[in-house]
Symmetry: C2
Amino acid sequence: MSNLIKIGENGKKASMILGQLDQESKNIGLRTCAKALLENEDYIMKANKKDVEAAKKNGVKPSLVDRLLLTHDRICAIADGLEEVAALDDPIGEVLSMKVRPNGLTIGQKVVPLGVIGIIYESRPNVTADAFGLCFKTGNAVILKGGSVAINSNIAIVKVLRDALSSIDITADAVQLIEDTNREAVQELIRLNKYIDVIIPRGGAGLIKTVVENSSIPVIETGTGNCHIYVDEYADFNMALDIIDNAKTQRLGVCNTAESLVIHEKISKEFIPLVVDRLRAKQVEIRADEKGCSISDYCNPATEEDYGAEYLDKIISLKVVDSINDAINHINNYNTKHSDAIITKDYNNGLKFLNEVDSAAVYINASTRFTDGNEFGFGAEIGISTQKLHARGPMGLRALTTTKYIIFGNGQIR
Amino acid sequence: MSNLIKIGENGKKASMILGQLDQESKNIGLRTCAKALLENEDYIMKANKKDVEAAKKNGVKPSLVDRLLLTHDRICAIADGLEEVAALDDPIGEVLSMKVRPNGLTIGQKVVPLGVIGIIYESRPNVTADAFGLCFKTGNAVILKGGSVAINSNIAIVKVLRDALSSIDITADAVQLIEDTNREAVQELIRLNKYIDVIIPRGGAGLIKTVVENSSIPVIETGTGNCHIYVDEYADFNMALDIIDNAKTQRLGVCNTAESLVIHEKISKEFIPLVVDRLRAKQVEIRADEKGCSISDYCNPATEEDYGAEYLDKIISLKVVDSINDAINHINNYNTKHSDAIITKDYNNGLKFLNEVDSAAVYINASTRFTDGNEFGFGAEIGISTQKLHARGPMGLRALTTTKYIIFGNGQIR
C-alpha cells in the first residue's frame, strides 16, 4: 500500500471521529494547539531556519524568502489565529430547515462536515496551522501538501499540532502532512477520491490549473483575480480616483487588487489625465488602448494579453468603452469572475452592472479590496472561490461543510 | 474551431441572455415549448420510431427499448412536466441575506444561474425536455449529450424546443444537443471548462465514473444507491417488515431501493425467518453471511462483493451485526452515501444512527424510497447527488443556481 493511500485511510478514519466531537472539545483542541505552538517556538524556528537558509542558497527571490520566514511575532499571530477560530460560532449540527410532509415524515437539513479535505499550497508555513484550524473547527480531517521550500517548517508545525492533539486524546490524524516533496505526490493525491472529499489548491495560477485539470476529487478553485474598476459616464471623479488608487496600490500582491480600468468614452478626455496624475504619483504604469494612449503620453500601448493579466505589480490596463454595455462585455470577457466594481451616480447603470457582470463579488462605488472573509464578517477565510459550484467568493467556515437530510418517520412506506 | 467549441461558445452567449430574463418570460418560454411538443407529436413519434426499430434490430434489451419508446401519453407527460416547472417558484434573484458592515458597505448574497450546464445521459428521451425545462427555469443554458440509441428522438425534441423558443424571440441556444454519437464527444465535452460551468452525468455507474475521473469541469455526481435498512434490536418487527418489503420491492430499478439488510444479532433468530417469509413471497433472493445462512436455508451465501452491490433486481444482501456500532461501521464501509435507514424504538440508537451514518439521507423508521425531489417537496428533480460538494441528496431548482455577492457602497476604501 502506498504511503499516500495510508494517509488517505487515516484521514477517513479520523474524520469519522472528528465529525462527532462536540464544540467544546474542538475549542479545547484549538486552544491546546495554540499554546503548543507558542511553547515550541524554538523548535519551529530551528526548522524554519533550515528552510530559509536553503532558500537563500538556492537563489529564491527575497519576496518569497520573506513569505517563508517565521519570526516570534509571526508564530504569535499563528497561535492567535487558532484562538480566534476557537471563538467563532461552530456551524456543525445546525438544522437549516425542518418541515413536516403531508405523510407525516419530518425532513430536516443538517449541517455536517465535508469529511476529509486536501489542501495544496506553496511557500507560506502559516497556512499549515491556519488550514488545520478551520478544518478542525468544522469537524474535518485535513491532509496538507505544502511547498518543498517550506518542508522543514511544515514538518515541525504539524508535529507540534499532532502532539498537542494526542496529549488531550484527540486523534492526531486530524492533521497529516505529506512529506514527499516530489511533484508526483500532488498528482497522486488528487486522484485519491476514495478517501478525500474535496481538494482546495491555494497558490499560483499554474498550481490551480494542474489541480483543476487532473483531479478526480471535487475541487474548490480559489483565487486568481483580474479585478476591474469601471468608471461610468456618471461617476463622481474624486470617488473614482480614491477607489482606483486604493484598489490598485493599497496592496499589490493580492487577488482582490484592481488590475484593469475601464473608462466611458464621454468622460475619458477629462478623467484620464486625472487618473494618470494619481497613478503616476504612485509609480503605476498604465497600459492603455489607442484612445487612452491618444489622451495621455504617460500610457503605454496595451496588448491583448494585458486585458487578461493579473499583474500583482505596479501596472494596470486601461480600456475606453462607448457604453455601459461595452464595459460589461469587456469585463465579462476578460475577468476571472472574482471582483469588479462600477463607479456611478446613475441608478439604472449601477443596477445593470450588478445584474450583468458575472463575478463572485460585484460592487457599486467601493474598492474591490473588500472581497475578503474578514471584511465580509466571516471571521476567518480559507480562500476566495472563483468557481460557481458549492461556494463562491470569500469562504468562511460554512464553505467547509455540507448537509445531510435527516428524516424522522413512524413507519412510512410508499 | 471544433463543432463542440462552437456549441460551448453559443451556450456561453445564450447564458448571458437567459440569466437576465424575467420570470414571466421564462414561464411563457416553458409553456410555448410544452405546446409545441404536443403540436409536433407526429414529427417526434416518427423520429422515435426510427430509434426503436434500430434498437430492436440491434438486439437491445426489451426493458431498454421500453425506456426509449415514446407514446402519446408519454409525450403528454413530457409537456405536462414543462408546465409544472413553469408553475414552480423561480429561485433566481432572491437575496438570501443582506447586511450592513461597520464601514457602511451593504453586502447581499443573491441567487443567480450557474451559467452553462452540460448534461450527459443515456437512453430516455424524456430527459431531453425535462433537463431543458429545469435549466431554462433557472436561467441556465443547457448542452445535452444523450445516448446514441435515442439520437433521432433527441434531435426531433430539441428541434421542436429550439423552434418554439425562436418563435417568441428567445435564443434557441438555450438548448443545444451534441449530435455526434461517438464516445470521444463525451471526452471532449467534459474538458470544455472555458465554456461549461458544471457537468451532471445521469446514468449508470460506468458513465458517472468516466465523467468524474476525466472532467476538468466541476461535476455533480448523481446516483448509484446501495441503500441499507438496519433492523435494530429494539425494532418494531411489523414496521420493519413493511419497510423492508416496500424499500426492496416497490420499484426495483431505482437508486433509492434497498439493496442491503443489516440485522442485530439479538433479534436475528426471531426476525430472519419473518423477513425470509416476506421476501420469498415476492421472489426476492437473500444473500446472507454465515449467521444468516445458519438461521434460514432460504439464504444463499454472500460474497464480499454482495455487500457493495447495487443489484437493481430481486436480490438483497443480509449481514448480522453484534451492535449498533458494528451496523454503522458496516454501512459506512459499503454504502454509496445515498440513503440508509434504521428501524428502532430506542431514542439513543435512533439519534446515534442519524448522527453517525454518512449518507445524503438518513432515516429513522421510514422507507429509503422517499429520497426523491417530489417526495421531499421540491416539485422537480434534476437528480440525486451522492457527493458532498454543492448539493447533497435530491436536487431541485436551487441546485442549478449559485450566488453572487452584491455590494452597495458610497466610496468605501481600505
